[in-house]
């Protein structure tokens, strides 16, 4: 199956996500027939089987989602969403900041900047539930965590401060930035699940 992957291009780490998905598709042998492109307007979503919501500044991205009339279309988007950092904040049902209107697609409560400021940002090898090939080298930049997750949400990884990786249906949400490391295993896992879901 071919997959069309959109990357929400309002603000943040957009080109790195595009490159990472292209690398993942190549690793999976789907590089030639699938497309990865930027999404800015509601109409762009119709072409997507999957959407990445990148890291960036969650207050800014939230505001631009409203400005660009993307809130409702994102809430009703039928494909899978791959959300990192600020993206994870937006996927939650509740966040510790009233200015951010979340999409509520994953039942979890998220704290922003849960590890602190930039000087507390870190890299670490963390275990991911069910991921073959050993720990994942994760890059946390002013990262959020989930303080609480609802029933039916699969926790993939947890640290002292809270949950840093979850899966729910076709969606995956991560506190850290897999698009900044060379490892595409999480992108591949997301795509594989999406394709398995669609073919059944």
């Amino acid at each position: 199956m071919d997959v069309n992957i959109g990357v929400l291009a309002l603000q943040g780490n957009v080109s790195e996500h595009i490159d990472a998905f292209r690398r993942a598709l190549h690793m999976m042998g789907r590089g030639t027939s699938s497309e990865v492109f930027e999404v800015r307007h509601p109409g762009d979503l119709n072409k997507c089987d999957a959407l990445a919501i990148p890291g960036g500044e969650s207050t800014t991205i939230s505001r631009l989602i409203e400005k660009n009339h993307l809130h409702e279309p994102l809430c009703t988007f039928s494909g899978g969403i791959f959300a990192t950092c600020a993206g994870m904040v937006l996927m939650a049902t509740y966040v510790d900041d009233v200015r951010i209107r979340t999409l509520g697609l994953i039942d979890m409560v998220v704290d922003r900047n849960a590890f602190g400021r930039q000087k507390e940002s870190f890299e670490a090898d963390i275990p991911i539930e069910g991921l073959e090939g050993g720990p994942f080298h994760a890059i946390f930049i002013r990262a959020p965590v989930a303080k609480w997750v609802g029933a039916g949400i699969t926790v993939l990884s947890r640290m002292n401060q809270g949950v840093v990786a979850v899966e729910y249906g076709k969606h995956m949400a991560l506190s850290f930035h897999p698009e900044l490391s060379c490892d595409t295993r999480l992108h591949e896992r997301f795509l594989k699940k999406l394709c398995d879901n669609n073919s059944t």
Binding site: G12, N13, T59, R142
Partner: protein, 298 residues
């Protein structure tokens, strides 16, 4: 997870932080109230400083790092990243801002230089740095010292975009010119622009700088900001342009939207309507040599 298994302040974390600012507007603020207005308008980060560049021009004297009390007030007022300016070469001002918890340090020509020979050895810090540059050689020298982000200098505090355009065109043009060169020619070129050859090779391979490149120094309207994005900037810094305009709230929001839709003139037209007066501008050709900020540090 044990603390010793975590690594802090790496090159990847510094450049990664800079990368998260892409497509955003970073606004100069001098107090907590301005910081809140900037955050409310959709700024990705705020730059805390004592006075905006146009006031530094008026007041004269030695311009230094902001009062730590003020920086802390700004940090406490907003949840977006807070940056701070230090004088070129003033590594102790940088140590102070790092201790305060500033998320990125701007080693800035807008303040009075503290060292006319050396810039700060930025690799010794855990906090990432942004530095100004007017051409590719200057940008690569700063990256070699550890800068995780470059901003083209422009001419700060003038509200005149002409120098920002010149510097962005310089850098983008020089990177494009690498395309036609073989390795030996690039080595020669690196020597001529006084930049490390391996960084020149890297620019050639990527077709861009190895770090994020923002535009700064003279951006005063939504159209200015969008033009810099179309010329290849990854985002913009707006200094005096917001809080020296007649309606900072409106101007800040309009510039954020213009950067988001930099390729859509109809959006830029809409957001530019009824903004009031932009900051008063200065003709850069009337500046005396000692009033020009961009020549500080090279």
């Amino acid at each position: 997870m044990k603390l010793e298994e975590l690594r802090f302040g790496t090159e990847l974390l510094k450049r990664g932080f800079a990368s998260m600012q892409k497509g955003g507007v970073i606004m100069d603020v001098v107090n907590a109230d301005q910081a809140k207005i900037a955050e409310e308008a959709g700024a990705v980060a705020v730059m805390s400083l004592e006075r905006v560049p146009s006031d530094i021009r008026k007041t004269g004297g030695v311009a230094r790092m902001a009062d730590p009390q003020k920086v802390i007030e700004i940090i406490d007022a907003v949840s977006i990243p807070v940056m701070g300016k230090v004088r070129i070469g003033h590594f102790v001002e940088a140590q102070v801002l790092e201790t305060l918890g500033v998320d990125m340090i701007d080693e800035s020509e807008v303040l009075t230089p503290a060292d006319e020979q050396y810039h700060i050895d930025k690799k010794r810090f855990k906090v990432p740095f942004v530095c100004g540059a007017r051409d590719l050689g200057e940008a690569l020298r700063r990256i070699n010292e550890g800068a995780a982000m470059i901003r083209t200098k422009g001419e700060a505090g003038t509200g005149n975009v002409v120098e920002a355009v010149r510097h962005m065109r310089n850098i983008m043009g020089e990177i494009r010119s690498l395309k036609g060169m073989d390795r030996q020619e690039m080595t020669d070129y690196a020597r001529a622009i006084e930049a490390p050859a391996d960084l020149v090779f890297e620019c050639s391979e990527r077709g861009r700088l190895p770090v994020v490149n923002f535009s700064a120094g003279g951006i005063a309207t939504p159209s200015d900001a969008a033009m810099m994005m179309q010329l290849g900037a990854d985002g913009v810094f707006v200094g005096s342009g917001i809080f020296k305009s007649s309606n900072p709230q409106l101007m800040a929001k309009a510039i954020v939207e213009a950067v988001n839709h930099f390729n859509e003139p109809e959006v830029i037209a809409r957001v530019s309507k009824g903004l009031g007066d932009a900051m008063p501008g200065l003709d850069v050709h009337t500046l005396r040599a000692d009033e020009v900020l961009q020549t500080r540090g090279r």
